[in-house]
């Protein structure tokens, strides 16, 4: 049954190198610098978070890694191959409404394996649906599923191509707090089985700390990396890790960093 999942974790793959990446957007004909000269190295199998207030360009950086946004300068390399367009090397989980509404849950998850010409896309899709605990909902259309279930299907779909890199753009942002915390636990379980490199975008300090090995706190306008925080809380992690003293100290530190950036924007807008 679990032939596809039982393949040896490929932690040797999935290194990300972000080199001097700058991104410009045009607004009313004027070029605005969204990301300025970002330099980042993420190792295979690492779980990292891009953390920052909204508008800091963290999603933009994720989109550059995924090949959905072209940088004005610099480049991103995954396993030493430059990223020029979205490919199956990067699975992407979006915030919401990214499932294909005309396909069933099974059809959505089988889409990737089918595109890659695998022999039995549906059998693979069933395994990945089981991985996220939704094997019973294979015939349901996205509109018939709850928000949490839709995101689980989204995760299964992104993982079904076995990408070395998994990009997650505030995937739990639209869920209620209880569902979100359960989803975080489930995500860690899945990650510990597959050992994919994960880049996780969030503005939630707790979410970033609970999930990640390293957190990159970002600066605002232009977006950049303000500070890198190593989260040495050990694995596997239970949600109770948030009660530890070490976690408290990390949280205070990261929270202060993010708050500084938020205040900059807040004051910039009001003054």
């Amino acid at each position: 049954m679990s032939t596809h999942l039982a393949e040896k974790p490929r932690a040797v793959q999935g290194s990300i190198r972000i080199e001097h990446v700058s991104v410009e957007f045009r607004r009313d004909g004027v070029a605005m610098l969204a990301l300025k000269d970002i330099e980042l190295a993420i190792e295979p199998g690492e779980f990292t978070a891009l953390l920052g207030p909204s508008g800091c360009g963290k999603s933009t950086l994720l989109n550059v890694i995924g090949g959905m946004v072209r940088p004005a300068r610099g480049e991103v390399r995954i396993d030493d191959t430059p990223v020029t367009e979205p490919t199956a090397r990067c699975g992407v989980v979006f915030q919401q409404h990214s499932l294909f509404p005309w396909m069933t849950a099974l059809g959505n998850v089988a889409f990737g394996p089918r595109m890659l010409g695998h022999a039995s896309p549906e059998a693979e899709a069933r395994e990945f649906l089981a991985l996220v605990g939704l094997e019973k909902y294979s015939g349901a259309y996205p509109a018939q599923l709850s928000g949490g279930m839709q995101q689980r299907v989204g995760i299964a779909r992104a993982l079904a191509t076995r990408p070395p890199v998994l990009l997650m753009d505030e995937p739990f942002g639209a869920l209620d707090a209880q569902t979100r915390s359960i989803m975080q636990e489930e995500l860690l379980k899945i990650w510990s089985k597959l050992k994919t490199t994960v880049v996780f975008v969030t503005h939630d300090v707790d979410e970033a700390l609970y999930l990640s090995d390293r957190v990159f706190a970002m600066t605002n306008s232009p977006g950049g990396i303000k500070e890198e925080i190593r989260v040495d809380l050990g694995r596997p992690r239970a949600p109770e890790v948030a009660l530890s003293e070490k976690y408290g100290a990390l949280h205070r530190r990261v929270h202060r960093l993010i708050r500084e950036e938020s205040l900059k924007v807040f004051n910039g807008i009001t003054s």
Partner: protein, 271 residues
């Protein structure tokens, strides 16, 4: 206790409560009343006029209907018209839908072809009839051409806007799952556009049906349009009205049939 009391009350089904209800039965009843009133008014006016050449009564028209049905003339004319509608409609769909999706996806193609479409679109199907006769003579062929022209623009335009409304997120998700250009058009853009394509097909079929009658008035020697024209020349107004009523009824039935299969075409849109 309360239950027992309630079941003792005999159910009251009044015409009023039936009409207030939702659903199929009530709608049918409303429709029957509306049509009944229309027929009564028609009868009253016809009796008042006392001129069967200007306006025969519905009863006389019904009698004419049976006579034409018994002769087999009506069936032949209906089949001739239906054939022209379906051939033209299928040609319009076969060209309109793929062309619209290609234009929605490939920008240079769109910029090249859309202006031509915009220029041709305001020309009504009836204005094409003279040139259709020059090109194709009289008979089925000019009618195919006219019904195709009439169906093409609603089908093309709806499909085009359906294709344009494809969500970037779906395209990006598909790319990150390994989909290439052809798959993006066929597997993402086409189903995204399908609800609007379907609307276009419904409108196109209606337009095509209207156009076939116009075409047959001038460019054919069979069909409902031809029959109306001939009956007018013979001052057989009852037959003119038989033709008109048949056109109305068949057109409505075709629309209803398309609405009836909608949930099989767009299964994710139904509950």
């Amino acid at each position: 206790m309360e239950r027992a009391i309630r079941t003792n009350i005999p159910p009251r089904i009044s015409a009023r409560s039936l009409l207030a209800g939702p659903g199929w039965a009530a709608n049918t009843l409303w429709a029957a009343i509306g049509i009944g009133v229309f027929v009564l008014v028609w009868t009253a006016i016809a009796l008042q006029l006392q001129n069967p050449v200007l306006l025969p009564t519905p009863a006389v028209v019904l009698e004419g209907f049976y006579r034409l049905l018994a002769d087999g003339y009506l069936v032949n004319d209906v089949l001739a018209s239906l054939k022209r509608v379906f051939v033209g409609f299928l040609m319009a769909s076969a060209v309109g839908v793929p062309l619209a999706l290609l234009l929605a996806y490939f920008v240079p193609l769109r910029r090249l072809i859309l202006p031509v479409v915009t220029l041709i679109r305001p020309i009504p199907p009836i204005a094409w009839i003279p040139i259709a006769i020059l090109w194709f003579g009289v008979g089925d062929k000019p009618s195919f051409f006219i019904t195709a022209i009439a169906a093409f623009f609603p089908i093309f335009l709806n499909s085009f806007f359906g294709g344009m409304s494809v969500e970037d997120q779906h395209l990006n998700a598909a790319r990150s799952l390994g989909a290439k250009k052809v798959s993006l058009v066929i597997r993402i853009m086409f189903p995204s556009a399908l609800p609007m394509i379907w609307t276009g097909l419904k409108i196109g079929l209606g337009q095509s049906w209207m156009a076939v009658v116009t075409a047959e008035l001038i460019a054919a020697q069979s069909g409902l349009g031809y029959m109306i024209q001939m009956s007018r020349l013979n001052l057989e107004t009852a037959y003119v009205l038989v033709g008109m009523v048949t056109i109305g009824v068949l057109g409505s039935l075709m629309g209803a049939a398309l609405s009836g299969v909608e949930r099989y075409v767009l299964p994710w849109k139904s509950k």
